[in-house]
Amino acid sequence: MESLTTILILLPFVSAILCYLVRIRIVRNVIILVSGGLLIICAFLLIPYCPFAFSPESLFGLKIHSLLQVGDFLLPLIFLYFGFKDKSFLVKLFSILQLFLIFLIDFFLLKEKSASSVFYCDNLSLMMILIISVVGSLIVFQAIPYMKNHEDHLHQSPSKQPGFFLIMLLFLGAMNGLVLSNDLMYVYFFFEVTTLCSFLLIRHDRTDLAIQNAVRALWMNSLGGVAFALALILIIIELKSTDMQLIILLPSPAGYFLVALSLICVASFVKSAQFPFQSWLLGAMVAPTPVSALLHSSTMVKIGVYLVLRFTPLLQNTFLGQCVALMGSFSFLAAAALAVGQSNGKKVLAYSTISNLGLIFACAGINTPEAFTAGVLLILFHALVKALLFLCVGTIEQHIDSRDIEDMRGIYAKIPLTALITVFGVIMMIMPPFGILLAKWMTIEAAAKNLYLIILLATGSALTVMYWARWAGTLMSDPFAGKFRPEKQPLLTWIDLGSLAICAGGLSVMVPWVYQRFFLNDMIHDYSPPYQMVNGILENGYGVFPVFPLSLIAILGFLVSIWFLWRASKARIAPSYLSGLETEEPGIFRGPMNQLVQAGARNYYLSSIFSESKLTVWINLGAGVLLTLLLGGTL
């Protein structure tokens, strides 16, 4: 089990360096495929060993602790370098602050090794490992054909792919390290590594916009890093230990400990791009789509929610916990409202990510076993489905050269199978019996006693349906259905999209058994499983969700609907109603003076109410007030 852990963390680092050094494309692709495959296998092999603790002393002869100290200093120096290169005052400020804080910690506060075990894995960490290894590897696989097209399209030479894959694989290793870490110093280190990776990947295309947005991501995430470092200082002073498993067992936090917790919450909000820190995530959408899929929806932004979920035992019955729940629900509603007014596909996905992360924060704040279960299920399913949707949008984008939903109108005519997979992804986001809706159901039932939360959740939920249904309909808006002929795509793309879709759908059906295997024990300290699982039906005292029967009915309904569709393909095809003025060409009618006119429609984006420019100011103000409440309440 030690070797598995070492492989999961270090193999990506090794492959990353190999990818950078070996400049032959075929060999690089093989390296990527092999390391991804190994990661997936190792992650699954780790399952029977959980829970376990692991404390390596040295790596290749060097003491791990010293390596960490070097890394802790190296990273802010790298940020400082970029601060000078890209002329950003805030980046310089925050990196100097971090250097100072790390200096304080490493030389004055940390006297001896304070964590009893460096790495600890319970079922929560195991879930994260599985997500990172499986979803992460699949995304990096899809990046192979995507980046080839991307560079051909932008005429970029010499190829920047070696550097790209170096950072992508490095990132996977850093994520694995973070979720396995028990020592907060290690968590901090990997936290900063992911900030660096995100920065480098956003500025990949080196356009002015990319550099600007990368700098914004860097200073905002560094702000999170500063908050985390301050929290570390307070924890070390107050508790004399950085061992997370020990810290969680402590009774009700107060004084400096509570302030440290709230700073960790702030760092999590920054990392997960909650309001008012959301602008870095939206700016990050200029990066190539695999970056958006990997970092900014499935894995990196999950760090924030993962940390807060880890600390839920400490948040019980505190004002801080209630504030976290309130901020989460507020983000859920606000991001959904902003997504309604958005027509850029990737920005809609970004707002949806922020919205779902807000929901997970709400779960952490509500802090009942039902809410915790909901939070973990949301992490799992959101990672899968959002990665699928981002990869689909990436594929569509490369076909039509645009990210706007209006340009994707009727794309079913050109790329039918991709359009169908995208619609399936959208369906998995909002409909029962799939996992995300199951988690939303659990959250609402858990939040039902809290009036503030429930109003926000109810309205946010309704807005969510609106922007997803609109998008799904637009993709299928086709004047005439000829024979279904799947389009040509690289084989790797089909394997990727197909496996993500099947994983997400299949896992949704299997949720009761996932619950039985992973949630009934060893999930996290102080968690008592809230639901009974009988015949695939999840039930507790006041709610019941028959997952498996509904899944069977859904599959049956799907098959019957396909039969209907097949019968309809034999039916007479009529033109869409255009008041009788239709001509032979679909969508073209005879207008005034006998001229031919193209009939068109555009989606409602309700920009008089929901436009980004109108709402963002007020939402940021509201979020700022809530944040002040959170921080002020702890002081």
Partner: protein
């Protein structure tokens, strides 16, 4: 388990028959209010059978898929209601059907269909939070989301949840496609946006949409009837009363626009719900 499955199947088969009769009653009452005679009671059944026998004609094959999903979701939500499942779950499954109806309408490129679909999305936006809050109110009162808890509650819900009942009545108004919120495809005014949402559906598919509408009507009436679940007479009185009120409101108001609908639903509706929920919270 087998007992529940048979009950579910029976509900799915019997509900459209009841729904059709109620729909016919609706048309007769509306006609009488308008000093007309109106069609015979079984008229909706004649309509559906006639539509089923018409030629199959589609704008694109995706429409057939969406219609079937709509009808399936509507029937399953009614079935789940009858076997006394979880109210929140029933709401979500009903929403599946509504979403598929919208997606099917958006798949046709006719502008009437497109605008109708967007108006339908706005309608869903206006009633869904209200419905969820009504269910939350039921939870706060009975302590459970399951219908069996409501049915075994010692007093009618109407006493403690009056405002939530009004709010539910508003949601029913939107669902029954009656004035003033019949924006996407009106029930009695047959030519709003040339039949809006359902413009490009015809023949058997239109028949299925009508049947799904009956399922949804029965589901929402069932929700309303839960508010006096202590006696059969009470349930019938509540159901009949709300049905009559909906018809009268339909005939006395004009159709308004989506801004009014959204601001009224979220303004008045959320405020009333909040007042009722705060009262319940304070009484705990």
């Amino acid at each position: 388990m087998i007992q529940k499955a048979t009950l579910l199947l029976a509900a799915i088969i019997v509900t459209p028959l009841l729904g059709g009769l109620l729909s016919g009653l609706d048309r007769i009452l509306t006609a009488r209010l308008q000093s007309r005679i109106g069609p015979p009671l079984l008229q909706p059944f004649y309509d559906v059978i006639k539509l089923l026998k018409k030629e199959k004609m589609v704008v694109n094959v995706w429409q057939a898929f969406c219609v079937n999903c709509y009808v399936a979701a509507a029937s399953i939500s009614v079935g789940l209601f009858v076997i006394q499942s979880d109210l929140l779950l029933i709401l979500f499954i009903q929403a599946v059907g509504a979403t598929f109806l919208v997606v099917g309408a958006l798949s046709s490129t006719s502008p009437y269909s497109q605008v109708g679909a967007h108006r339908e999305l706005l309608q869903i936006l206006s009633y869904e939070p209200l419905l969820m809050l009504a269910i939350i109110g039921i939870y706060m009162e009975t302590g459970s989301f399951k219908i069996e808890a409501v049915l075994s509650w010692h007093q009618p819900l109407l006493i403690r949840l009056p405002f939530l009942f009004l709010v539910l009545g508003y949601a029913l108004l939107v669902k029954l496609r009656k004035s003033p919120v019949d924006l996407s495809t009106s029930h009695h005014a047959h030519q709003e946006l040339v039949k809006g949402l359902t413009t490009d559906y015809s023949g058997p598919y239109l028949a299925l949409i009508e049947v799904a509408h009956w399922y949804e009507m029965m589901l929402f009436l069932g929700f309303c009837m839960l508010f006096w679940a202590t006696s059969w007479i009470g349930m019938l009185i509540v159901g009949a009363a709300i049905f009559l009120i909906e018809i009268i409101v339909d005939n006395t108001t004009a159709r308004l626009n989506w801004r009014w609908m959204l601001s009224y639903a979220w303004g008045m509706g959320l405020t009333l719900s909040l007042i009722n929920l705060i009262w319940l919270y304070a009484r705990r």
